[in-house]
Symmetry: C2
Subunit: 74 residues, 2 copies
Amino acid sequence: MLIKQFGLAVRQLREGRGWSQERLAEAADLNRSFIGEIERGAATPSLLTVEKLAHALGIGLAGLLARCEPELID
Amino acid sequence: MLIKQFGLAVRQLREGRGWSQERLAEAADLNRSFIGEIERGAATPSLLTVEKLAHALGIGLAGLLARCEPELID
């Protein structure tokens, strides 16, 4: 399911940078608990939240979402 | 702004297929007026709505979003 895959992708990218959820929340101007929910696939982000996360993680929107659909890469 | 660019991308893809907003709404299982708002950049879609639109338009998520950030392609 996309939301779970998206959460996993965000977690992998965050941990790849050695960041805490607090650090990512600060960089993305989002709430720390919301980051936790997104990573668990328990919250559906808006396109603007996806953009904030991609920007904070230093990856393009398409690049971040490509990680959620490896087999559907367009 | 991302939301405006996303709306434009959806409209271009829809019109490229010769579809009406009704046709896209039906294919994406979304409300016709919501499609209009999205295309005008007046509504912020969730990631699941983005997925529904990409699927209905026969394009991958990353492919659809790459159209919104030509200069930021990852």
